[in-house]
């Protein structure tokens, strides 16, 4: 980033190679749309160029990057006056099952994704950052400008709510064949 800031714009390509998957994953899970997320990733890297002078070298780059990604997403929905998240599973496709996935697991994953997209976006964001981006609570707290204790409480609540939504979706199934597997207490 320092090179880009100094005017070596070609280095933006290296930044893209290193970080675009993380940014895309965050945006795709937040919007539920691969196409929107791809557009937003472009927007994010355009903003990096545009606002490169505002990055302070002593600040963590990832926090700055995700702040830009959050702003890009917020602006996108503001421009389109969207209030509800994209509720289809990733552009209408069911999540692709892994080679050993059973039909039950596949539909459970799809339901869980639907539950995640139904969750209010500030709560969804916490789950996405903590679970998928594996961001430490301290980093999330810095990104959202909230203290760490509050973030932990909110993550807990968001997870509870997600579980409730999921179980509610599951209870509507004609045949309630599968619940969450019992996990061992060692995570």
């Amino acid at each position: 980033m320092q090179a880009v800031q100094r005017g070596d714009l070609a280095k933006l390509g290296s930044l893209f190679d290193r970080h675009h998957l993380a940014v895309f994953d965050f945006l795709a899970r937040m919007t539920g749309s691969r196409a929107i997320a791809e557009d937003l990733v472009q927007d994010v890297f355009e903003r990096i160029l545009k606002y490169r002078a505002t990055w302070r070298g002593d600040a963590p780059f990832l926090a700055w990057l995700f702040r830009i990604a959050r702003n890009a997403r917020a602006d996108y929905y503001r421009r389109r006056e969207f209030t509800a998240p994209y509720t289809e599973a990733m552009d209408g496709e069911d999540p692709a099952p892994g080679p050993e996935a059973t039909l039950e697991t596949e539909s459970e994953a799809a339901r869980l994704q639907r539950a995640l997209l139904t969750l209010r976006e500030d709560k969804r964001e916490l789950i996405v950052l903590a679970r998928y981006r594996e961001m430490k609570y301290e980093a999330i707290a810095e990104l959202l400008d909230v203290d760490v204790g509050t973030i932990k409480v909110r993550v807990h609540r968001a997870l509870k709510e997600l579980r409730d939504i999921f179980l509610n979706l599951e209870s509507r199934l004609p045949c309630n064949v599968k619940k969450f597997p019992k996990s061992s207490r060692t995570i």
């Binding site: 675009h20 691969r34 869980l112 932990k152 597997p181 019992k182």
Partner: protein
């Protein structure tokens, strides 16, 4: 460990961030508390199941091509900017400028020797210089980059005060520029044209239409400096309904300084 503490430590427990002692304490509590055990198992299952949602895969090549195009465009812009700056500093331009100054000197010298009347050559040279400055200013003010538009607005101060096109461009910038800093600079630049009705009217209109508190404050100062009592209506509206408290206070101050009771 109490139930509340388990609840508090659960996020760290789920992500594996809890230290060994905390984990042991939680697990000891869970072995004797069925309620907490049920909750922790349920949430842990949800946390794990989130991992079954596959990672969406992007069209990385397509996006990279877009970013490459972006880089190329920005590099081209930079090159144009550097070129423009380079041309201004180019020895040939410097030489031309020196020749121009010399020519002006010679013409002025001859003119003062011959007669007090102004010579057409001097007038022509002045006009050309003025046109050149005006052209540069207008061109900068139409650039995509906000920093270049800002330079254009600042450069407008060097253009002769009678340039109608500059005034029009500044008013247009005040009304339509997307960048707050550029709009702010245009308010400052318009001050030297404040004797014109069209500028004062535009400032009053802008008080109604601008939404940026910074620009609103600059406009309030503008109408107070120009003692434009026509702005009192707009100031009253701002002092009553502006979302920003500082703007409301400043508007009330403006009304007072225009010698009107708020």
């Amino acid at each position: 460990m109490q139930c509340e503490e388990v609840s508090e430590k659960l996020p760290d427990y789920l992500t594996g961030a809890a230290d060994a002692a905390t984990r042991a304490a939680i697990e000891q509590h869970l072995s004797g508390c069925a309620t907490c055990l049920q909750e922790v198992e349920g949430l842990a299952a949800t946390w794990h199941s989130l991992g079954t949602i596959p990672a969406p895969l992007p069209d990385s090549r397509g996006m990279r091509a877009g970013v490459d195009a972006l880089i190329e465009r920005e590099q081209a812009n930079q090159a144009r900017f550097v070129k423009a700056r380079f041309q201004w500093n180019h020895p040939l331009v410097t030489a031309c400028a020196a020749t121009l100054v010399l020519a002006v000197g010679v013409v002025l010298g001859r003119a003062s020797e011959r007669a007090p009347a102004a010579t057409p050559e001097v007038a022509t040279l002045h006009q050309e210089l003025r046109d050149l400055k005006q052209m540069v200013t207008l061109s900068l003010m139409q650039q995509q980059s906000a920093s270049e538009r800002l330079r254009g607005v600042s450069f407008s101060n060097q253009v002769d005060g009678s340039a109608d096109e500059i005034v029009t461009a500044l008013l247009d910038t005040l009304k339509h520029d997307t960048n707050v800093n550029v709009r702010l600079a245009s308010v400052d630049a318009l001050k030297r044209f404040a004797e014109r009705d069209v500028v004062r009217r535009a400032a009053v209109d802008a008080l109604d239409t601008q939404r940026s508190p910074l620009v609103q404050m600059a406009l309030i100062d503008f109408v107070v400096e120009t003692q434009d009592r026509g702005a009192v209506g707009a100031l009253r509206k701002l002092s009553a309904a502006a979302p920003n408290e500082t703007v409301r206070t400043r508007a009330a101050w403006g009304i007072k300084h225009l010698g009107v009771e708020s």
